[in-house]
Structures are given as C-alpha cells and as structure tokens.
C-alpha cells in the first residue's frame, strides 16, 4: 500500500525525505520504495471559465474566456464535450509540462488564439480507470469553487509523495494509514496521535425494522451495521477524491467514497447498501444456493455455489461477503437511505471465493491477510462520522449487531535472558521495554520475565519469537555483530553416495565430457522412449505444458535434446554427460523411487582436424571406452560383462550392449537407432547410462599391494579363423579358461573379414601375455599352455589356427 506523506502528517510529524523514510522502513520493518507524484507536471493552475462561445470554424471547439488569476482573462480553445461556463477547471498555461514530455505552447487553433489547455485528469497522468466516470471523456471539473490561478497540482494531490510498502503476508496491519503510522512512527520513535470519531447524538435514533441473520456462523466473526436516513448522494469533496485516486481507487459518490476512505484509513473493508432495496429490511449472511447469480452490472454476472459466503436479502444476493457488492442494492444517485456494514469474515473463505470468481481486490486482500478485530465498530462509526460531515443526513441508527466477538489483546510472556540469547546481544530490560513502547506495546517486568500486552491491531504477534523479531528490528540489525555457532565441533562432509557421484563425474570430465543439467519433468514421449527400467509413468496433476508433464525415466532424452539444440547451432562434435535422478515407480505405489543415474552421449568426431592430426568419426568403441574407464574406478569385485542386446529403448539392435555384473544389469551402452536419430535431427550418436546407486552397492575389490614383477613376461601371438557370429568376448573367456595360471593378459590386435577369408568367417589376432611373478618362465611351460588354449578354441568354436 502507498502511504501518502500528506495524509501521514495527520498522525505523526514527518521531517525526513520520502527516500530516507523508504530506506529506513525497509531496514527496520517493511520493504518500501519512495514514490513522487507529478514530477513531470508544471504550470498547472485553476481556471474559472467566465464565458464561452463556439469556435467560428469548428462544429465542436469552443472559445473559452478563462480567469487564471491574472490581470486579464485568457482565451483557450477547448474541444471537450463537457466544457461549460462557470466551471472551475485545470488549465495548463503556456510553457506547462505534461507527462511523456508533452509541453503546452500558446498558439492558434483554426485561426483563433489559444493560450493554454484545459485538461482532463488522464492528461495529467491519472490512470483513466481512476478518473471519476463523469470526467472520463472530457475535462475535469473541480467539485467546488477554487481560487483562480491556484496551484492545480497541489489541489489534485498530484504533488504528493508516498512510501510504497511492499508488505509480507504477516504485516497486513499496515494496510491502513493508522497501522502504517504506527509502523513508521516506531521507526522514528514518534507515537501517532489519532482522533476518535464523534457522532452527533441528537441524530441517533433506533432502527427497529432491520433484522440480521448470521447463518454461516463459523465464517463470520463480526457483523455490525448502522443505517443512515435521507442522505444526499453527490460527488465527494476534492480532498477525499484526490486521496482515493492516489490510492488507486476511483471516486464514485460521497457514500461509496467515504466507505473506501475509511478502509484506507483503518484497514477495515466497509460496505454500503441502498437500504430501500433490501427485501423486508432483512440481511442474511449465509452460504449461497447453487445456481444463484450475483449481478455485477454491465452483463457481468457470477454463478454462485454453496462454498460462497454471501450477503442476502430475501431471495436476492447483495454481495459476495468481503469480496464485492452486486448491483441489486448499490448506492447511486437515487439512493436516500443507506446501510453501512463493518464485518470480519473468514480469510480463507474470502480468499478462495475471490480466487474462484477472479475478483481479488482491496477488500478481499485485507480479509485474506487479516484485519484488526478491535477496530470493527470504530471504523463503522468513523464511516458514519465522515458521511455526516460531507453530506446532509436526517438520522443515524444505533449500532445493530449481527454478531460481535470481543477482541482481546494478546499477552505474551518473554524471558529477557532468552530473548538476548536468541538475538546474540545484551539489551537491558529498560531498553527492551522502550522498544516495545515505541510499537505501542505495554510491558510489565517481573525479574527476568516480561509480560507484554499487544494491541489488537498487531494480530500477527502471538509468541516470544514474534517479540524477538520486533525488538531486533527496531534495535536495528545493523547493530548486530556476526559470530559463528560456538557449540561442539562437528564432522562435516558428503554422504558416501555423493562422494561416489563426485568421483564418477570427475572421470567423465577427465574424459573430455561437458556436464549438462536437464529437466526432471519431460513429455510423455520422452518418459517412454528410453524407459528400459520399465517404470510406471508418474504424472504431475496440473502441468504447465505437455513438455513438462511426466517425471523422467532416463537421462538419455534430455541428452538427445541437448545434442539437437547444439547441432542446430552448428556445434556438432559433442561429448556430454549428466548425473541426476530418474524416477522409477512400481505399479500400486504413488511415490516413485528416486534413483541416481549417470549417462552420456557422444556424437560427431573425436579428436580435431588440424595441421598434424585428423579427427575420426566416433564409433561404438569410443563410448564403450568411456564406460570401461568409468567402471575401472568403481573397484568392482566382479567381472563386467557387455551382453549384446537387441531390445533396449530406441537403440541400434546390432550396436548395443547391456552392462552386467554378476548377471545384474547396471545399464547399457549403444548407438541411437537410425530412425530415432533422424526423427530428432541429430547425427550418429552413442549413449550410455548407468545406475549409480546399483554401482555403489556392488561389493568392492579388496586391493592388496604386490611388488612390480621382477621376471620378464613372454608374449605369444595367436591368429585364428572363426565363424562370424562368435564374439571376441567368448573367445577371450575361453582363452582364459584354458590358459593356466601364468596367462596374465589377452589383447586383441587384429579383426579382419573380407577378401581372402572364408565366407561367414573372420580372422582374429591376439597377443597372449604370460608371466610368473616368482620365476622365469620356461619355454615348455608357455608352450604347454599355448597348446591347451589352441585345443580349447578348436574344440569349442571350431576355429582354424593360422
């Protein structure tokens, strides 16, 4: 809410600039910004139109003689439809500045001299929706006689300065001028002074006819009304109008304006009704009947339901409680007798109704956040006082109580020692009591105990911690010296899982892969495409878009998106990885398991084309190499198996392997299927994905140190011809099976198929490395093992040794 300095001065002395106030209030209470109105306006005066005649060469312009307080009247050409003799209007004199850099110059309009401009409020920068309806399509006319030549900017409130409070939900006490005066006053150690409303007793009569039924008792805390007979509905005085439009409220008429004015003054929403439009002078506060309608005028109706708390009279609905009034009993020019309502409705109910009907506004905003339940009656009386002061009235009713809940001040007990310990400073009891007094809280001290009585306007206060906040902020956070917690030492660190993840990520980084982060919420298609874990799909109830509707089941779709995005920007040689959660939900469970995965994608060329090197197209064995390096750091106790697999996601059936330890699938490595690849507009790409949690759970190799071998190794080469469908993995397994205790390593050095090779066969070449770490190997020992290997391969795979 914007706090007008002009208005604030009614309650506290204001000696600082609006910038200083905003800065100080931001640091001690509520985030604030200074607002200065009318900085782009100048040379605006009151003009009195003494006479007016039509422009000789125009059918809509008039020549106005205007008294602007100068020795002679000036002529101004005016085209506004509502211009008339005798009006007091806003005149922009020669040289005046208007918003958006507009400057007024005297000159001639169709041959007639014009020495300025008669203005509408919108031309002065007031939003059109805030301009009183009668003046929206023309010039503004002052409601009363003003001094010609007087400063129009000041009269219109357009030179006011304001502090815009951006309140947090707990500080709705400052959604009224009086609450704001307390807050700003506490900041500057100034107690605000308020006048209580005074009602002319001679006008007060009983109104025995009106009946109020509070049906929805749990949603209505207070419901008070007064009626006024024989009001004269008219335009409000200027001082009310200008304060309202500066608050962003459109002036309507003196009755509605008075209600809005009191809402700003006290923070209490006030509603007014045309008493004569009530059915049998009854009011019922109750739940709406399904299907009933609330008419808001101009073909705008809201369909009500049984969750809506409404103000009914007979079978007509007057308004949605705490939100908006309909047209059926609205106060307009024909109104004679009025009913004023000051009430407290349930905040949640008001909030939901306002949301449901898209009608959030000044009143609902205050009920949502809470209002001062101790100010219900005083704000009702203030409204009566204000109306009586700006229009003639005949009589006022007593306060008619639909429901009234006594508002008791909150009492909070606090320990001086505890408060100091939690703040980390040492204030004396007197210092604390002094701060609380600035806020209008009264305190009794008994030893270490403070008993603090909180006025009802600070309904956010309920426990000692709330008091600590008040004392701390008024004392000033800038006076707080930082310390570090001084308790027992603790051992910090990562979890074993995080340590492991960090290790895996570092390996991939050292393999030259860039780390990416992708979205956990993906499209249905993306959740499906690589769901090799066969998870149930998990969907969010109200997705923002179909692109982010399901929880991901794999890291690969995100990585493919990254490749496509980069390729479209001409980055085509890519090596990317991601470590993150995937969501694996079992059927019958709502909650998916969150599993850490690490996955990568490589595409394009490996190495660079340069003056001394040439790049090579990436193939399956490049990505497999990365996986092998990664797994070599897992310190597994068991062998890694790459099992050719034809049925994983959208992967190439001939270039994909499942990765297994002890027959448990840990992940997969493979090439993106050519169809999927072209559908996503990417080049050949190779991916892998591994379940980090499963890897971490594997039994670890128990490393025992041994010295570097002292005896030389012996290498034998083996070349064989074998059927094409036999994998190298099977051959190597067999070689180790037959190779005896001294066979240490088998390295493939040649794979060949093509000319000179029998059809359906391939030629494979291996280096076999034998070593005895305790002795020199003899020729016979090696020869014996080599023979066994050859025999084994011949028997098992029918190979031909070449």
């Amino acid at each position: 809410m914007k706090i007008s300095i002009d208005w604030l001065k009614e309650y506290i002395p204001v000696t600082h600039t609006v910038e200083e106030i905003a800065n100080k209030v931001s640091l001690t209470g509520i985030e604030s910004a200074p607002v200065e109105l009318g900085t782009d306006l100048s040379n605006l005066v009151v003009g009195h139109i003494t006479s007016l005649k039509p422009h000789p060469d125009s059918d809509h312009l008039n020549l106005c003689q205007v008294d602007v307080g100068q020795a002679e009247y000036i002529q101004i050409v005016c085209g506004a439809p509502n211009v008339a003799e005798g009006q007091y209007v806003i005149v922009a004199l020669d040289g005046a500045n208007l918003p958006a850099g507009k400057e007024i110059k005297k000159g001639a309009i169709r041959g007639q001299e014009s020495n300025g401009m008669i203005c509408g409020l919108d031309e002065l920068g007031v939003e059109e929706s805030l301009v009183p309806k009668a003046f929206q399509k023309g010039i503004y006319v002052f409601p009363s006689v003003e001094e010609p030549g007087a400063d129009a900017k000041e009269l219109l409130g357009l030179n006011d300065q304001m502090v815009d409070l951006d309140i947090t939900p707990n500080r709705a006490d400052t959604l009224g001028m009086r609450g704001a005066a307390w807050e700003i006053g506490a900041t500057y150690d100034e107690k605000p002074v308020f006048k209580d409303p005074v009602i002319d007793d001679s006008k007060v009569e009983d109104d025995d006819n009106l009946k109020i039924n509070i049906e929805a008792d749990d949603l209505v805390q207070d419901y008070l009304v007064r009626t006024i007979k024989n009001v004269q509905v008219a335009e409000s005085p200027l001082w009310i109008q200008r304060r309202l439009w500066n608050q962003g409220i459109q002036p309507v008429n003196n009755i509605i304006d008075a209600a809005n004015y009191v809402m700003i003054e006290y923070g209490e929403p006030i509603q007014v009704y045309d008493l004569d439009n009530l059915t049998d002078e009854t009011i019922s506060v109750e739940m709406a009947t399904d299907g009933h309608k609330l008419n808001l005028g101009k073909d705008d109706t809201k369909d009500l339901n049984h969750d809506d708390l409404v103000i009914n009279s007979g079978d007509q609905t007057l308004g949605l409680a705490g939100v908006v009034n309909g047209t059926s009993a609205q106060v307009d020019d024909d109104t004679r007798n009025i009913l004023i309502e000051s009430a407290v409705f349930d905040g949640t109910s008001v909030r939901k109704a306002a949301q449901r009907h898209d009608l959030r506004g000044d009143a609902s905003n205050r009920f949502e956040k809470g209002v001062d339940t101790g100010a219900v009656e005083i704000s009702l009386n203030r409204t009566v006082e204000l109306i009586a002061s700006i229009t003639k009235i005949q009589s006022i009713s007593q306060v008619i109580v639909g429901k009234q809940t006594p508002a008791e001040p909150t009492v909070i007990k606090a320990s001086i020692d505890h408060v100091n310990r939690l703040m980390g400073i040492t204030l004396s009891a007197d210092e604390m009591i002094g701060i609380l007094d600035r806020l209008g809280f009264s305190t009794e001290q008994n030893g270490d105990e403070l008993t603090v009585t909180i006025p009802t306007r600070r309904w956010d206060m309920s426990i000692e911690a709330d008091l600590i906040e008040e004392i701390m902020r008024i004392y000033g956070y800038e006076n707080l010296q930082g310390t570090l917690p001084s308790g027992n030492e603790t051992l910090g660190g990562y979890t074993p899982q995080r340590e492991f993840i960090n290790k895996l990520k570092n390996i991939l980084l050292s393999e030259g892969m860039d780390e990416t982060i992708n979205f956990g919420l993906v499209s249905k298609q993306e959740a499906r495409d690589f769901n090799y874990i066969d998870s149930e799909y998990t969907r969010v109830l109200h997705p923002m878009t179909e692109d982010h509707e399901f929880l991901r089941t794999s890291l690969i779709p995100g990585l493919i998106k990254n490749v496509a995005y980069n390729k479209a920007r001409k980055n085509s040689d890519l090596s990317l990885f991601e470590e993150g959660r995937i969501f694996d939900r079992e059927s019958g469970h709502d909650r998916p398991k969150e599993v850490e995965y690490i996955g990568g994608i490589i595409t394009g060329k490996v190495g660079t084309d340069s003056w001394n090197t040439s790049a090579k197209e990436i193939d399956f064995y490049d990505v497999k190499g990365i996986v092998e390096e990664l797994l070599s750091f897992v310190e597994l106790d068991s062998e890694v198996e790459y099992r050719a697999s034809k049925e994983i996601g959208n992967l190439h059936p001939g270039q994909t392997a499942a990765i297994l330890f002890d027959d448990q699938v840990m992940g997969y490595v493979g090439k993106i299927h050519p169809e999927y690849q072209s559908a996503h507009s990417i080049d050949d790409a190779f991916v892998f994905e591994l379940n980090v949690d499963k890897l971490l759970a594997q039994p670890k190799k128990n490393v025992k140190a041994m010295s570097a071998p002292k005896y030389p190794s012996v290498t034998r080469d083996l070349a064989i011809l074998v059927a094409k469908n036999i994998t190298s993995g099977e051959i190597v397994k067999q070689i180790f099976n037959d190779g005896g205790q001294y066979l240490k390593d088998v390295n493939i050095f040649d794979v060949y198929q093509g000319s000179n090779i029998e059809n359906g066969h391939k030629s494979l070449g291996y280096h076999l490395i034998f070593q005895n770490s305790n002795d020199t190997l003899t020729y016979d020992t090696v020869e014996k093992a080599f023979t066994q290997i050859k025999t084994g391969l011949i028997n098992k795979f029918n190979v031909e040794v070449r």
Partner: protein
C-alpha cells in the same frame, strides 16, 4: 731414420690426421689403423731389437706417449664432431612453437554444480554435512512441517506441482529440514547441515523464471544458536563467494518457518556500494532469505524450543551464478549450449 724420429713422425701425422677427420667413422678407422696391433707404431717397435739396451726404456716411454697423444687427439676430435652433429640435429629439429598443440581437453563441470560445490566446500569446512533430499516429497514435509498448514495463504506464494493430494514435486529444499531434525541424535552434538538440490514451481519459463531450479538449504540446531550466529555465518559465506570485502545486511521479512525472518543483502561486488546497474543503484544485492527457525518447526520434530534454537537459510544457486557471472537468462542453464557451458571451465 732413427726409431725415435720415426715415432715422432708417426705422432705428428696421427695427430694431423685426427684433426682433419670429418666423420666419426673416419676417426674410428684412424684409431684402429694407427693404434691397432697391426698399426705403424707396433710395426715400428719391431725395430727395437736394433736399439741399444740402455736406450730401450726411453724409446718404450716415447712409444707409449705417442700412443696416448694420438688417442687423445682422436678423442678430442670425436668430441668436436659429436658436438657439431648435435648442433646440426638441434637446428634441423627446430619447431614452430606457435603452431597449435594436440588437444587433450578435459570437460567442463556445469556452472550451477560448480557454484553449488563451492558453497558446499565452504560449509564442509565449517563442519556441515551435505544431506541429499527427495525431489518428490510429501506435502507433510514440504509444507506442514514448515508451519504452512493446508489453507495457509503462503501456499499461494509458491504454486506447486502435485502428483497426488499428498505427494508433490518439492517447492523448496527446506522440505529436508523436518527429515534431518527427525533423524538427528542431539545427544551426539549439534545438527549442522546443508541440503542442495532441484526444486519445482508452476512457473512459465522465461528469462527470469524456470519451472525447475536449484536451492541450497542450511540448518543449524543447537543450544544457544542466535541471530548473531546467523549473521556471522552468512557474512563469511558471502565473503567466500562474492569477495573478501563484502558486507551483508539483514532486512526484516516473513517466512512461515522462521521467526524472526530476514532477507539478506550483500554489498554490491561490482561497484562496492557506490551504486550501479547490477545493484539497481542501491549498493546492495538481495541474495538469500534466512531466519531463526520457528519454535513450531522445532517442536514438530520433538525438539524443545526452550532449550534448543536454530537458524536456517535458503539460497538460489541460479541467482548466485547469474549475479557473479552476469548471466541474464535463466534458461541458459538448461539448454546446455556447449559454448555457454565451456566458458566456465575452472572458474570454481
């Protein structure tokens, strides 16, 4: 010619031949030829029998000296030739060192993870544990345990992706607080933890909003934890991240799960507080929210708020990285353009 003269002649010729030789092979040949068993010195010494006995020792000594001198001449020449060969080789092998190298590039850690790890390392040094949380969380932990009951207006402040009535994509890493307090054994000492991770909000993605982003929650529970402890801790953090000269300030704020609550500003690292575009000419930049944990939150974990107190803070790694490196579009973190990613190699 006397044997004596013959030997002297051989010496002179040998030394001259050595000095003239151009190749290592010639010098080796010369050595074999002059000093070998069939060489001229050995030949000449066959005439020793004609030398009187008393002169023989003298001739013997001379012959040895001649051999030694020739040997020395050959060796020194070998050394010269070797030097020349090496010099020539060095000349031939000279490279254009400005040509590009063979690249062996290491990848780049994502800037958000670099930012997070930098903060993690800072807190690990202060004895904090790094606790992971759940991205799919119960309403109970994400809201109710944080003093945000159903129908609380604060639930409007953060629009939530629900999965069922009770399950949701967590909207804040504060959701981890309840779990960690429940699990902690306070007889073993204070709870000091940070919990980084991904959170989700129902936002349209644009330059300043993302439906997915990161948060890092911090929580310390012990006897006598104070607002001053919070200020000192965050001061040290901000100096670690934004530079040693930074100051921080607290401004009152509101979060349902802390009381008092504060917003924390750091003095502008760009202008040092003078005012500039980055700090919107205020000299201060809002970096995180914090406060003393609300007694209700402690009590819900069975912690006596009269005995224990706690502070908590939550920060946004995206915001930290955007401020520190001048990134102006949050979507850049998630599109993973390698040119964006790789510019941050090694910054943290």
């Amino acid at each position: 010619m006397s044997l004596n003269d013959r030997l002297k002649e051989l010496r002179e010729n040998g030394i001259n031949d050595a000095k003239r030789a151009q190749h290592l092979q010639d010098l080796n040949d010369l050595r074999v030829q002059l000093l070998g068993k069939k060489g001229p010195i050995t030949q000449a010494l066959r005439g020793m029998k004609d030398v009187p006995k008393e002169q023989r020792p003298e001739i013997g000594t001379l012959a040895n000296n001649v051999k030694k001198d020739i040997q020395t001449a050959i060796e020194s020449r070998i050394e010269e030739v070797n030097k020349r060969i090496i010099a020539q080789k060095l000349q031939e092998e000279t490279l254009d060192v400005t040509l590009p190298a063979q690249s062996h590039e290491v990848g780049t850690k994502h800037i958000l993870n670099q930012t997070i790890e930098d903060i993690e390392q800072f807190f690990i040094g202060l004895g904090y544990e790094v606790a992971p949380g759940y991205e799919v969380e119960e309403d109970h932990y994400n809201f109710e345990r944080l003093n945000i009951p159903k129908d609380h207006p604060a639930r409007d402040m953060q629009d939530t992706f629900y999965i069922t009535n009770e399950l949701l994509m967590r909207t804040q890493t504060s959701a981890q607080e309840g779990r960690d307090m429940d699990a902690h054994d306070f007889s073993k000492g204070p709870l000091k933890m940070i919990s980084p991770g991904i959170v989700y909000r129902r936002d349209d993605d644009d330059a300043t909003h993302s439906h997915q982003f990161h948060q890092l929650e911090g929580l310390v529970v012990d006897k006598n934890i104070s607002m001053a402890d919070l200020k000192g801790t965050l001061e040290a953090l901000c100096r670690h991240v934004f530079g040693p000269d930074r100051e921080i300030r607290f401004r009152p704020s509101f979060f349902p799960f802390t009381e008092p609550s504060v917003e924390v500003d750091v003095s502008c690292f760009n202008c040092g507080g003078e005012g500039c575009r980055i700090c919107k000419y205020t000299g201060w930049i809002e970096v995180l929210g914090a406060g003393l944990t609300h007694p209700n939150v402690l009590e819900m974990s069975g912690i006596d708020s009269n005995v224990y107190s706690a502070f908590a803070f939550g920060l946004g790694p995206e915001r930290f990285a955007m401020l520190k490196y001048g990134i102006d579009d949050i979507r850049d973190f998630y599109t993973n353009d390698v040119r964006f990613l790789e510019q941050f190699k090694g910054v943290n």
